[in-house]
Subunit: 206 residues, 4 copies
């Protein structure tokens, strides 16, 4: 767990460290990231790093949590739709998804972090960090799911963790696909179609 000492640092220095770590993890993933490069870039000593964080995984977990929370805060909550009914819910989701994509596109390093988070890992230290992250994001997803169900927009015949897993998987797939498009393809992402597929998979059967 991040030590309180870190929180007591001058914001500028906190930023420097987090930024350096973000760069490193985004560029090299978790395992290949080098703490040596992080401390060089952040301009602190190796001792200091271990004074602030338990270990590499702790640093990763912290930097990822900060970035994700910032992202969620930026995008704003998935608000309760103004009108009742599935259509309004899915519109809200699509709007949120488009926003999130836009922001991730503007912050490719955070997108990269997210991919590291979602990647499988055999490393126990990283797994700990991943669990910690999950604990940050899952409640948020569950809230959205509840909202969807109360709008009659999401099926209730399957367990919610399965639905969430599928939603994450589809999101990841779309991300992969978007990434694989040639860089000069300036067409906007087909968010309508993508959310449409998600909707069809998750909405109640008729």
């Amino acid at each position: 767990m991040v030590r309180p000492r870190f929180a007591r640092l001058p914001p500028a220095q906190q930023q420097a460290i987090l930024r350096a770590a973000l760069d490193e993890f985004a560029t090299h993933g978790f395992h290949d990231a080098s703490l040596n490069r992080v401390i060089d870039a952040a301009g602190i000593s190796k001792g200091s790093m271990y004074y602030y964080f338990d270990d590499k995984a702790d640093l990763f977990a912290h930097v990822a949590r900060v970035e994700f929370e910032r992202l969620l805060a930026d995008v704003g909550p998935v608000a309760r739709p103004s009108e009742p009914g599935p259509d309004a819910f899915w519109s809200t989701v699509e709007r949120f998804y488009r926003d999130a994509l836009t922001r991730l596109a503007a912050h490719p390093r955070v997108a990269s972090l997210a991919r590291t988070w979602l990647g499988a890992s055999e490393n126990p230290a990283l797994q700990r960090a991943q669990l910690e992250l999950e604990a940050t994001v899952m409640p948020w997803l569950e809230r959205v799911l509840v909202l969807g169900r109360s709008s009659g927009a999401v099926r209730t015949d399957l367990p919610s963790d399965l639905l969430i897993a599928v939603a994450i998987g589809m999101g990841r797939a779309m991300d992969t696909w978007l990434l694989s498009r040639p860089p000069d393809d300036t067409a906007p992402p087909p968010t309508g179609a993508l959310v449409g597929m998600l909707r069809r998979a998750l909405e109640p059967q008729t």
Copy 2:
């Protein structure tokens, strides 16, 4: 790329090497796998390994390709459904999916390899290997997609690589969810529901 030299080895020795590598990669993932352990288990010298394979990623790509091809061969092709129409196609897919799951459950090391393959990686060498693997599996998936479309079972309004990405993502999500269930849950996987979601996402809109 695997060197032809490897193919010229006595099959027994090829098996020994591939088996050792499969064990190692399945147990430790790509990065944490140790070539030293592989050559110890395979009973060959370090020099020989580099005589047969370019590098670690090359070994991984080869072992993964061999295992996947064996898996696909075991399960058999997704045959042209005996009857026309979407229902027959999706039944075939579900049957295939159930078979594949069964086989993966029987070969956990191959399942583990698949997860390594599907995991995102920032490691350039591994990415190269992943691309190589993709080249093995994609044509197969595309064949299935064509089949589905000619049955009217799969939408044609979205690019096929997007549909494939979504299918892979959902498959991965289901795998994750299946893995996360308590080990003593002996209920059979809800393949029907899972393929149902896939179908709803991919079938043509009405």
Copy 3:
């Protein structure tokens, strides 16, 4: 040397520090003991520790001296035997030895400390501390020796520091041997035989 500042602390806090240090040194030996753990357990700051003690070795020397003095005080002095003659002296020694063993068995941490003290060390800081400790215990041993000589129980043809070294060495050997016995061996230590060997080595020649 312990700073007088330490003596001025409230006894409760002195106890907390000494107890934490005793635990740490007994568990990990000198080198592997961590000052960080000690200050955590004692609930004081790093700065305070260095305000009270010169360094790690100083802390070790102090904690060891306190414990040994307490042990000697508990066991009581090797009293002048009530009767004259060697037999009475050696009986006293044996009684003392048995008492000391009993007490060490009841305070394994102190026993562990004693072993660290008696262990050879190339570490200059620890050597300094060991010398300091010696200065605490040697006078006590010399008093016993004088007692023995005046009873005619201890030879006078060899220098007293040699005799003391031999006595310590034999004590250490016995300790080692006692420790090496299987834990389920509940037979009482053969103190008679052990002191008998010591006696034969140290008593005057006939």
Copy 4:
């Protein structure tokens, strides 16, 4: 365990490594010895060191075993006394002891190593090495003990491991005492008196 690779090295390089390690361990003890210094002094790479030895403790065990075996070989075995009876046995022991002391005095680094060996350790890796060393030396000591008993020179009423422990403890004590004498004391060590004490402790009671 030392790897056979090491034995295959040119003798000159083996010597260089063993010599560097001996210097380092003798000067700094086990824990404070630095592998980095050893490899610098030996002129080999870090990788090579770990190619030859499992780890630090393995290196220590090997260097110590080599030196002790050389010492024992130099001094020669404790030969069966030419005449029967205790006196001849103890004369042999004293002669051996004097020889060994002479040689240790001529090789202070080996003496230092011996002290590290005999020192207590909390370090599991070092303990492993110490056990390994013990396995080298104990049989030798036991042989001497058997010899002594068959000459009627050593008591049979106490277990041999206790007698050996006492003998080692006394030897260590004498070593300590000899070391503590001022360096300008050129008087020969009182081996007669020292062995005399050992004899009195170990010989049968009358």
